[in-house]
Amino acid sequence: MKNIFLGLIGIAILFSCDSKKKPSADEISGVLDSVKIEEPAISEDVIADIIQQIPSPLEISTLLKEAETKYDKSHLNDPENISNYNSNFKKALALGIYGTDLGYTNIYGQNQDALFYLNSIKSLADDLSIGQFFDIGTIKRLATNSKNLDSLLLITTKNFNSINKYLQDQKRSNLSILLLSGGWLEALYIVSKVSEKNPGNEQLKETIGEQKIIMDNVALLLSFYVESDPNIRDLANRFSKLQEEFNKIEIKTVYREPTYEVVDGMLVVKDNSTSEIIMTDENIESIRTMVYEIRNNIIN
């Protein structure tokens, strides 16, 4: 009876094992870098939930184009700066920054510039053992024809989403967070620069003010690693000062019931709520100054 019982347990264990293929030890060691970060106390699922909330920097680039502001290469991080990034910490941040710059060049149809960013992105991704997500041949082919803009945007967005998921699966969420932090900071930097050049554009100022919500998420994500990673601790301290500036901004919301209609089988929602961002030009100026300082410190 005892033997039958043990046999049944053995079979049960076999059945209950996940049938998905697990990566081999070599595969894992190949992707893990030398600087292994102690896992934070918070669960990976919670981190993943917060990460997925962070909006794509593409949204800001699209806003800039819709606001009819001109493409300005000087707002971007020079792809040649890649030689400045000699640690995984710096590489992950730079990858996020270049990802935003690539999106900006894409949105403006600046394919030649996009190619320079793609080369730097591929190189950083290879160094971080995530180069497999970039089929550089296909991307370059798409980038050489402006008619392929949608496909190029789609493929690069998908790649960055896949990288984030992969890093989380590999329990390297710290790199994923750096990638997102770099990408968000660069978008904030670009919109700050454009807003500075267009002081009369209230929408751009509002966009900066609205980043208060994202700032809170980014600061929270970084806070999970301040104990285990001195580089992240340093970055989190700088972001924390920026967060203090954002805290001076107030977002007031008035809720009203939405209304609906069905168009072509889709529910179209009319959002009747409104929000107001209460801030001064001094708030925006302080945020700009801090963003320039933090970004300058990262890219050089």
Partner: protein
Amino acid sequence: MKKLIIALGILFTTSFVNEVYAQCNTEKHVEACIPKLQSGFTFLKSYSIDGQGGAKSKVEYSYVFTKGATYQVQICNDGEGTDGIVLTLYDSSRKQVASTKYQGSTLSGLNFPCQVTGIYYITFTFEGSANHCGGSVLGFKR
């Protein structure tokens, strides 16, 4: 002994459910969904909707929507129509903003012109679903 046999029975059943839900290929649904984003919308995110063969009643994601942008969420699946997959959108206070279950029909997606920047919760539930499996994409336009 009887308790042991029941416990083992549960273990086997769970293993069986695991095997069945492993067949939910959300990636396939996501790929099929991307071209369904209407013209002018830029792809942002994809979402797996895996109800694990009925073991999971809700799949939830969240995203910060920005005032002034219009977001579109499309749902794709294998079955007839939407196969009972219902998308419900909640705002940051967990107040329901919209549901694709509308006036007796289950619609395949929604358009949301956002007026208040904040965290929104995108929740998928299964109502009479046969496959409990699908994919979804989020796009935006200005």
